[in-house]
């Protein structure tokens, strides 16, 4: 197979993905709530793709869509390819946990009746797995005694680190880390991220969903910025470190400005609710560059300066 020869071949490709939830109103009234629309992105082996963006912009939903973990009332359209092959439900079932591993966002995913060490090792009872678990715990600053603790005895940051271990000691080719660092001390967070970097160095692919943009960008290759259920920009991570001048979308620039180490400056308004998306560009209601054209049609992604952007004004 071609991807085996090419280190940088695409591992996961998502094309025009849309996800809608069917909601029931009064009586038999049905509503489709479109939570992800027209979303495309690619993760190559050897690469960390950071995903940043507004809370509630569909970042976790994307992760769940890739793994086939969406609830029953979700309607998914578009294309998802893993190593060039369509990811259908059967394939998702086979791959998740083995080829594709998830570090879930909520610490409630830990089994409350299972000790941390067993939990991290999972179903694999081999000595090799136990060895790996011990070394990962050590790197993440978890003492050997932690292995014996149950989730309720762990602090928020410790639970996060256990959760992190469960996914990275597998042999997965693609790791999806959904907000892995909140609650971790800065040194531990940096260690966790360098572990992800090493995985990528070994030819794996990593999706890193995070609000800690400044941390993530020191380790990521690319960044995808999400807003209201779609990507508004995909850029080399370096552009975000350079600052607003290198960025392409007004929302990405707003994110940069809001960081406490930059201007700590919010923008007015809200991300539109999935049930009430504006007809044109989804960011238009808050955009300083808004013109009539923006309100008519949501612009497609286009390539500019080595990245892609969904904005008619970007140059």
């Amino acid at each position: 197979m071609a991807y085996m020869n090419d280190e940088r071949a695409s591992l996961l490709e998502v094309n025009n993905l849309s996800v809608a939830f069917r909601m029931y109103g009064r009586g038999l009234l049905q509503n489709d709530l479109r939570v992800i629309s027209d979303l495309s992105l690619t993760v190559n082996s050897g690469e960390i793709l950071a995903i940043a963006g507004s809370s509630g912009s569909g970042k976790s939903l994307l992760a769940h869509a890739v793994l086939g973990l969406l609830p029953q009332n979700a309607a998914v359209s578009g294309e998802m390819l893993y190593k060039g092959q369509t990811l259908d439900i059967k394939k998702q079932k086979r791959l998740r946990g083995a080829e594709i591993a998830l570090i879930p966002q909520s610490v409630t995913y830990l089994d409350p009746l299972m000790q941390a060490g067993n939990q991290a090792r999972g179903a694999d009872k081999s000595r090799e797995r136990a060895k790996r678990q011990k070394s990962v715990f050590k790197r993440l600053d978890l003492t050997p005694q932690t292995e014996e603790l149950y989730p309720f005895q762990l602090s928020g940051g410790m639970a996060r680190r256990v959760l992190f271990s469960t996914a990275i000691i597998t042999d997965a080719r693609l790791v999806i880390a959904d907000e892995p660092t909140p609650g971790m001390h800065i040194d531990q967070a940096l260690e966790a991220l360098s572990i992800l970097r090493e995985l990528a160095g070994n030819g794996k692919g990593v999706i890193l969903i995070t609000h800690d943009i400044d941390l993530a960008l020191r380790f990521a290759d690319k960044i995808a910025v999400f807003y209201a259920g779609t990507t508004v920009e995909e850029a080399p991570a370096a552009d975000f470190l350079t600052g607003p001048a290198a960025l392409r979308h007004p929302y990405s620039r707003a994110l940069w400005r809001a960081l406490p180490q930059n201007e700590f400056l919010p923008i007015e308004g809200f991300q539109p609710y999935a049930g009430a998306l504006p007809p044109g560009c989804l960011f238009a209601p808050r955009c300083p560059l808004k013109t009539d054209a923006c309100e008519r049609k949501n612009p497609p992604m286009r390539e500019i300066r080595g990245g892609t952007v969904r904005c008619v004004h970007a140059t």
């Binding site: 809370s55 509630g56 762990l154 940051g157 909140p182 809001a258 919010p266």
Partner: protein, 208 residues
């Protein structure tokens, strides 16, 4: 006015080891103090004790020289990292604000709360939207000290800046003392005038 912990100690049961011991600490009215320490060093336990959610095993917490009042809304308010655990799931959002006497135009526009959200249940709001309600509620008229425990880690940076700007403005205006637990050094630098490392004031130096 001053909020202080006098020589407090804490353990979960009579058999378990101490998490906090011989810890004394004070924050003055209008002060902005950051509390830092690696995860698992008792930051959350410490602020829960300060805000009356946990009783210390030893020592006392004093507000203006007196123990925390047992009745009524506490002048020391805690904002937790998990807003979804902090609101009544069966109440619509307007009741959450009404309970605190915070349902007015100034609060709504200041916190960026849309009128339409008021008729929704907590589960119909995102974490960022919900946290705005928790912050608004915690800033009710009687608040003298506000404790933010990782208040904004789960929020996108724009929402984070929005909420912090409002909190800092209100705290300045009303002389509210702020205690900020965060792992983000840039945020600490931005909002705190003084930073306390819990490891330096806690008698327990090593935790599991």
């Amino acid at each position: 006015m001053r909020l202080e912990a006098n020589d407090i100690g804490f353990r979960y049961t009579a058999k378990s080891p101490y998490v906090l011991q011989a810890l004394s600490f004070a924050v003055e009215q209008g002060e902005r103090v950051g509390v830092v320490a690696p995860s698992g060093y008792g930051k959350t336990t410490f602020v829960k004790i300060l805000s009356g959610y946990e009783q210390p095993t030893q020592g006392r917490v004093l507000l203006d020289g007196k123990p925390l009042p047992k009745k009524g809304a506490l002048p020391v308010q805690l904002i937790s990292q998990h807003p979804e655990h902090a609101v009544n799931p069966r109440w619509k959002m307007h009741r959450v604000l009404e309970e605190a006497g915070q349902l007015n135009e100034a609060v709504l526009s200041g916190m960026g709360i849309e009128r339409e959200w008021l008729s929704r249940y907590p589960r119909e709001l995102s974490g960022g939207e919900l946290q705005r309600f928790c912050v608004a509620r915690a800033l009710f008229a009687g608040t003298r000290f506000l404790i933010a425990d990782e208040m904004s880690t789960m929020l996108d940076v724009i929402t984070q800046a929005q909420i912090w700007r409002y909190v800092l403005r209100e705290a300045d205006k009303r002389g509210i003392g702020l205690l900020v637990v965060t792992h983000n050094p840039a945020l600490t630098k931005r909002v705190c005038a003084r930073v306390v490392d819990l490891r330096n004031i806690n008698g327990i130096k090593k935790v599991v």
